[in-house]
Chain length 588, copies 2
């Protein structure tokens, strides 16, 4: 497999021309002093180099070797520990962390691009750092000053890693029924007992400690609380002490992601420390989960980008068949890339991946606004938009990411099914992104039920207003695309308004049509991004001509071939839930 | 994993009510004397039992163990040889074979149902028999009387197996460039030298001989010829003699289908016998390939049926979350099947799988007509329809089959990613069906380029006429569905007619829009099947009430939620190829 090169030209284009990040960052006081476009670009280059040179070479053999478990300790594939230490030393784990505790304080709009590069290079490897950064985010948002001071510096530096311990055999998507218990101790700590499953990075040999964020119920309460439970106890000076009653029961054998340890965790009188308020653990955990949801969306995006590069390289190199109308070179066989159907596949991956990158960045930008904006009202608006976009980023990026991998595999023909090529691993690794951190169905229900119907479409209407404003800044040649988007936005609002009106009379409706609603929104939003990318490329002065014309072609492709999906998904939403809910359960 | 039960009630319903197989078979002289509906039903029950009791138990451990190769001989997973012998002894390999040579002479419309059961039970195991039956079909159609007499009885009885040796490293989708050579010998045989790859069932320990159908070029000619090349030479009495210079170079490590051997084959002065005329090998091989294409479509169908049963069982058993509006039983958690989004997934798998079965059967029925019809004109019409439907059956059934497996995996949530559950194996095993026997892109180009544009839409127009005739026999309550289908059929013809008109001026067009054309046709045809199934269930007198109302619900579901895809795919066809063909190759 050739080394994957992160598309830094594309990334810089989005930062500079499409999102005008220089100006955006200028308005965020904490960012303005740290970062400008030039520095951002240098960080991208540095990250790209690390990912291609250090992380990617681990990926295929990590899949072949998998993680090991001797009954006590989980070991990662050969090379993982060394490269993780370099990764941590490079500051990549703490990239968006708090400078006060040793983080680099970078905005998430930049962070998402580094996440993408990591996942492009290796899904399995990159998860370890992503979970660590997410755990740090949660501890920073909800932990006591003492916990922050003790744990954040070690997490940002990657000396220790983080894990998110939620699922139990009887409690997956629905966490109300967890059985792990926390007993209050005289010293203010808690004694944790119970068991969890599907814990990504629950144990490994990358770091000297693993910091678990564990959901449990405090003795005598049915509310859910969040606890920090280290694998090894830590004294006040930050030194590692005794084992803490946190052990691995088993590791799972999975379809893919074989370099990532998925553990059954057991807590036997483990010492834990409450994070945030008692019985408010789900709210605290959601801070981490929302972060991870975006990250997992980006897992799909990173895989899609990798899939595109792999498929494109193969399509240019593999000679098979003649171009329609005869070989342009008179050869016995032309490269696959001359064939319309192969191009159709490559265009679909590319158009959806580039728009997907814009979605990830826009979500990151809203998270930055929610955290760093100068005024409270700006923070609130950004926070609402981040909440609106997070389930879309998680579900739509991972769904389209999986599609991209499967499509790229198709470009390889029979070779795509052979392990050696590497593309089938990408399909297997990426598949989980549609499932974990809340299945994509759960994301869609959150999106339609809470984010749209939850405020009677106020946020989405406001969001569409923002998009329209941006669309109106486009050059006159795009008037047709603008009109088409505005009509579809209105159509979307009309269909969703009808759902909203019925939500009380028909409580089953939202669950039944949510996935189509999210898909309609996703394809519509990508239409917006394609219009913006085409327009901004045209207006830019220093871009290569092929880059600019490529954006026009992709925009036309997207409007012609992908945007019709909006109406199709809206038709499915408008058709309601009768045909789905009528059969009795036994009939299935 | 629970044993999968073949849906024999559904199968009998399709045979009896939808396709009126009793009458159809009465009109085919060779079939009428062998088979009635009652016998067919008994065969289905017997096949179902064998598949659940014997084949399915091999499936999961076959994946874990995989095939072995010691440098000389390929070994299949434990249990395969014993069960294959029973399978062969039961007459299943020769089910549709010629009675003259020991086959059972059953129609393909019945055979497809047995194929489905086999693939539902195990993709990997069932392939061995399918290839053997396909090789026999080809030898019967094109081989000399001597070859038929020597080889067919041993193939139908499953004492020997068949393989199809086409692909070479430089010649996959495009076979013109194969390099394997055949040198004529004084005794009329040929000496074969060369190498092939991706040979499914190229070697194994299920049978005492493997009969390869090998494409090669006769010395001095650039035409392609087809040769029968046995692993072991066979004397005139049918006894196995010396090894024949056919050896395995390697086996491939694949994403799935690990119980099926995928071999590199080497021919070193191997003795081969010409099948059919010299330089006409591709036409002969297409007899086998068309058979295998239907079979591979059915691989997708069988997987989809298995996926439905697995997902449904899990959705009824797994308790998670509460029904919208509160648990109907007051439980702490309801089964997944109460949730609208889970039902959406199950309905989509079921609706597409049941219509898919009808497509497989209709294709089988046309193949039967082409072979057994009483008049030449009936044979010709059936032959044209079989040619029209074969690429659709291969591509649409395997694409929808893969979708079904992925969707079913989603129903399992996190458990779907774990090997233990078995559903991830189904995803991996089924993926290849979209690729081998001609990628689904190749199928689409065959469909649009040859089968539609090849006769300026004459066959498809005639075929739609047949469908309309059947639709008009439906009860008046279905008038809306009839009208909708007829409008869509007209729309399909209009859009394809425009493509047909441009095909000479723009030779790249067909390749670029073929997949969307095939998908539009597939979703439209499934609409037809749903109308027919709903109508015929209503008119039947002896079906359970829940069965009848289920067909109405699935029909309504299909028209509401799936049929809108026809317009979406037609929009993509109508948008032409400009946006796909314009970028220069280097830009990708």
């Amino acid at each position: 497999m050739n080394p994957i090169q992160a598309p830094t030209l594309e990334m810089n284009f989005l930062l500079q021309q499409v999102f005008d990040a220089g100006n955006v960052w200028q308005k965020l006081p904490a960012i303005a002093e740290l970062l400008d476009l030039e520095t951002a670009s240098a960080i991208l280059e540095e990250g790209s180099r690390f990912c291609s040179e250090q992380i990617q070479p681990l990926n295929q053999r990590g899949d072949a070797q998998g993680v090991g478990f001797d009954g006590i300790q989980v070991t990662t594939p050969a090379g993982y520990p060394e490269v993780f230490r370099q990764y941590a030393a490079g500051g990549w784990v703490g990239l968006c962390g708090e400078p006060e505790f040793g983080g680099m304080g970078m905005p998430k709009m930049l962070g998402v691009l580094l996440d993408e590069m990591g996942y492009s290079a290796s899904n399995a490897f990159t998860l370890y750092g992503a979970l660590t950064a997410g755990a740090a985010l949660c501890i920073h948002a909800h932990g006591s000053e003492a916990l922050k001071a003790l744990y954040l510096p070690k997490l940002y530096s990657g000396e220790w890693a983080g894990a998110m311990d939620m699922t139990e055999p009887q409690a997956g998507s629905d966490l109300r029924n967890i059985a792990t218990r926390a007993e209050p101790q005289a010293d203010g700590s808690y004694r944790i007992n119970g068991s969890k499953m599907f814990i990504t990075g629950g144990d490994h040999d990358l770091t000297s400690n693993v910091i678990h964020l564990v959901l449990a119920k405090i003795q005598g309460s049915d509310g859910i609380s969040l606890f920090l439970v280290p694998k090894f106890k830590v004294n006040a000076a930050g030194d590692i002490g005794d084992a803490n009653g946190v052990t691995v029961g088993a590791i799972e054998h999975k379809m893919g992601l074989k370099g990532s340890a998925t553990c059954v965790m057991n807590y036997d009188d483990a010492e834990g420390y409450l994070i945030g308020r008692a019985n408010r653990g789900l709210i605290c955990m959601f801070t981490m989960m929302n972060y991870e949801r975006l990250s997992i969306g980006i897992q799909g995006l990173g895989s899609a980008q990798c899939a595109y590069q792999m498929a494109t390289a193969y399509a240019k190199e593999r000679l098979q068949g003649l171009a329609a109308g005869g070989s342009p070179t008179g050869a016995k066989a032309d490269p696959l890339v001359v064939h319309g159907d192969v191009r159709r596949m490559l265009m679909s991956i590319r158009a959806l991946t580039e728009a997907g990158r814009a979605l990830a960045m826009m979500t990151g930008m809203q998270l930055d606004g929610a955290k760093y904006a100068a005024t409270e009202s700006e923070k609130q608006q950004a926070s609402k938009f981040a909440a609106l976009l997070t389930p879309v980023a998680k579900a739509f990026l991972s769904d389209r990411g999986f599609d991209a991998c499967v499509t790229a595999q198709q470009v390889f023909g029979g070779h795509g099914y052979i392990s050696e090529t590497g593309i089938e691993q990408l399909v297997r690794d990426t598949r989980i992104a549609q499932i974990y951190e809340g299945t994509n169905g759960i994301q869609a229900i959150d999106f339609l039920g809470r984010k749209l119907a939850g405020d009677n479409l106020a946020t989405v209407t406001e969001f569409f207003g923002l998009l329209q404003q941006q669309q109106q800044s486009c050059a006159p040649i795009f008037v047709k695309e603008q009109q088409q988007l505005q009509q579809l936005q209105q159509q979307f609002l009309d269909v969703i308004a009808a759902v909203n009106q019925q939500k009380h009379d028909n409580p089953a409706l939202i669950n039944a049509v949510a996935v189509d609603a999210l898909d309609a929104f996703g394809y519509l939003l990508y239409g917006h991004f394609w219009l913006m990318m085409a327009d901004r490329a045209l207006k830019a002065t220093e871009l290569p001509a092929a880059f600019v014309s490529g954006k026009q072609q992709l925009c036309h492709y997207y409007f012609a071939k992908q945007l019709p999906k909006v109406a199709m998904h809206l038709a499915a939403v408008a058709a309601g839930d009768d045909t789905v809910m009528q059969p009795v359960s036994d009939w299935f």
